[in-house]
Amino acid sequence: MTVFSVIAIILILLGLFFFFAGTVGILRLPDFYSRLHAAGKCDSLAATLMIFGIAIYNLQPFTFGALLVSIKLLLVALFVFIASPTATHAITEAALVLGVKPWKRTEKKKP
């Protein structure tokens, strides 16, 4: 158990926690916009953390090939970090144009 393995385990567990939080938010929040909020933020952060963890674990026998694969992994992380908020923004714009009503507490009347 080297230092790289410990750092990788910590990063991957953090990413798994944020994936879990995002899934709970998707399943339980009452509104489309709040579900989008949970999904977008938690997914981009969790995917970036887990890819960082995998890239650090991959460096363990430190060769040139492993370094190249780790640089590619960082490029995947950069792409996810740019593309996931862009997709979230596009879905939000579609919801605004189509007229999805946000959830309000005052509309909830129990007859």
């Binding site: 899934t23 489309f32 995917a47 995998i54 674990y57 792409f79 997709a87 879905i91």
Partner: protein, 100 residues
């Protein structure tokens, strides 16, 4: 030991993907379904890298993960733009809220 850890992480990711698929199935509007698909695709990108670690062949699976991330992004944008142009197809859940 690290092998078992990566295997357990992959299984947990598959369980979370199944829960996200539940939102994609029962989601009231079409945009909820698109959101569920996007979330499943992001989890799949990470799951492909974990599978690459399990097979000790990460250099091949990185390229598959890049391709899958690109496809997921383009598919989400395409589905969003497609449903932006046809206004009549969507909002089943809101009409159900308005009727009673």
């Amino acid at each position: 030991m690290m092998h078992s850890f990566f295997l357990a992480t992959g299984i947990a990711l598959v369980v979370l993907m199944a829960l996200s698929l539940l939102r994609a199935v029962i989601g009231p509007t079409i945009l909820d379904r698109i959101l569920g698909g996007n979330v499943i695709g992001t989890k799949t990108t990470v799951l492909l890298l974990l599978i690459g670690l399990l097979y000790d062949d990460l250099g091949m699976f990185v390229d598959i993960a890049i391709a899958y991330a690109l496809l997921n992004f383009i598919a989400t944008l395409g589905a969003t733009k497609f449903f932006l142009r046809r206004l009549g197809v969507f909002l089943e859940g809101q009409e159900q809220e308005k009727n009673p």
